[in-house]
């Protein structure tokens, strides 16, 4: 192989190496891309459910939707966590408040974070929260019991085939969060 051929080969080698490095980066780029997809379709871990949103919609009293509330805890840890009402009948466009109750039985001061999720997943883009205990980590002193409110509006543009929404929270404190990631 002569020198110029070898140079050509090296050039192509570097190009292809750069290409695979780019593919490696693309693997990571799939993470934000996936979030974008989730925002569009409502599927996936509903990031937007943990964000405050504002909505000025006209209430639509002609439609009634059942909203169910679920409280979950990871397998490890020691908490009490439940919704005060198991479900509500709501009209789209109207503001409602639902309350959850949490009690710290861990025997120490701790910080907990609620992670929301929703079924069916496609309703996530239409479910807006103006206030939620899941927006920020919650501080609990030892043995403290507290009501945790969530205020929400369901967008009247929600697809007509939806008659039931489930809003679920999983409650992680520092220990369970670490344990859950193990």
């Amino acid at each position: 192989m002569n020198a110029s051929a070898r140079r050509e080969n090296r050039k192509l080698l570097l190009k292809l190496l750069a290409f695979s490095l780019g593919a490696f980066g693309f693997g990571y780029a799939l993470v934000p891309l996936y979030q974008v997809m989730c925002d569009i379709t409502g599927f996936g871990n509903e990031k937007r459910l943990a964000e405050r949103s504002v909505i000025n919609a006209k209430p639509d009293p002609s439609r009634t939707i059942t909203v169910e509330f679920l409280a979950q805890l990871p397998t490890v840890g020691n908490w009490e966590f439940r919704p005060l009402q198991s479900s509500m009948e709501i009209h789209p466009g109207q503001l409602y408040t639902a309350d959850f109750i949490a009690k710290n039985l861990t025997g120490r001061d701790t910080v907990a974070q609620a992670v929301p999720m929703m079924a069916p997943t496609k309703v996530a883009p239409y479910f807006h929260k103006t206030e939620c205990f899941c927006f920020t980590p919650q501080h609990f002193s030892r043995g403290e019991e507290r009501e945790l409110p969530v205020r929400f509006v369901v967008d009247p543009a929600i697809p007509a085939d939806i008659d039931r929404i489930t809003l679920a929270y999983t409650f992680y404190d520092e220990t369970t969060r670490v344990a859950a990631s193990r």
Binding site: N45, E68, L70, A71, Q72, L73, P74, T75, V76, G77, N78, W79, E80, F81, R82, S86, S87, K103, L105, V115, M117, M118, A119, P120, D161, I162, D163, R164, T166, A168, T170, A180
Partner: protein, 288 residues
């Protein structure tokens, strides 16, 4: 056809199994060849899609394999066949054998998409049960009624399945397909399951209901089924997503009862649970 073709193999295996198995089988499995039709409208629809695509494949297979076998038998050098080396390309034929599959696929895709739309129609459900998979069992939670319980592999089977237990699984009825507390649901009712998991991913599957859904920690998946009014009985399934050491040992059993029987069961169970438990924390984690 398949049965016939496999007869010699089956016979061979049957003879071998006589040598190897201890005791008689609880039930023979030779007849288990195809998907079940199941007991819901959706499961029957899936079954007919399955049979449709199966027969499409069989027909294509017969045509393609016939051509191949014909070639193998006819165009042999030993029979003096002379190759037609000019035959390298034929646009007309190539267009035809691209177009025909396209048509078949479209014909397949339409009914399949229709079934998907039906499956995704979650309106008008009458009963919601939360299903939580954990390592290794299921928890069922009748949200409106406060009834909740764990469902684990039945004890005798659990003892028999231990390595070197010495117990012949054939002596245990419904080995690995029986639980201590089955899920009880009413027939003729659109039952909605909210499926999630506590630790790793599991999947909830009862073949007779035609549906399978992953139970994913941090997600709530939705799935529904509606068992025919006259199909009360026991239906069995298993976890179908690898979930660790005892993945094979977390069966699902559903006891489908008439609406009245179900209500009676629900009331009795709710009452019993209330009495059994002092004021119970609503969602205290089941320490696993």
């Amino acid at each position: 056809m398949i049965r016939k073709a496999l007869a010699p193999i089956a016979a061979l295996a049957a003879v071998t199994s006589l040598f190897f198995s201890q005791g008689a089988h609880a039930e023979s499995g030779w007849h288990l060849l195809n998907m079940r039709q199941g007991v819901t409208a959706i499961s029957r629809e899936i079954y007919s899609l399955h049979m449709l695509i199966f027969w499409v494949c069989v027909v294509i297979g017969i045509v393609v394999f016939s051509v191949m076998i014909w070639s193998i038998v006819t165009f042999r050098k030993s029979k003096g066949a002379v190759p037609d080396t000019t035959m390298v390309h034929n646009t007309k034929v190539e267009i035809i054998w691209t177009a025909i599959p396209v048509a078949i696929l479209v014909a397949m895709a339409v009914p399949a998409a229709k079934t998907l739309v039906q499956i995704e129609d979650t309106r008008n459900t009458e009963l919601t049960i939360k299903v939580t998979g954990f390592q290794w069992g299921w928890q069922y939670d009748y949200l409106e009624n406060g009834v909740r319980f764990f469902s684990r592999l039945e004890r005798k089977a659990d003892a028999a399945r231990q390595l070197g237990s010495g117990v012949d699984p054939n002596t245990i009825p419904n080995y690995l397909l029986d639980v201590d507390n089955p899920l009880v649901v009413p027939a003729g009712t659109k039952v909605r399951l909210l499926i999630t998991a506590a630790d790793v991913i599991h999947a909830w599957w009862v073949p007779d209901f035609g549906m399978k859904k992953d139970a994913i920690p941090g997600f709530v998946n939705e799935m529904w089924f509606n068992v025919d009014e006259d199909k009360t009985g026991i239906y069995r399934g298993q976890c179908t997503e690898l979930c660790g050491r005892d993945h094979a040992f977390m069966p699902i059993v559903v006891d489908v009862r008439s609406k009245e029987d179900f209500q009676t069961w629900l009331k009795a169970t709710a009452e019993a649970q209330k009495q059994a438990a002092a004021p119970q924390p609503a969602a205290t984690a089941h320490a696993g």
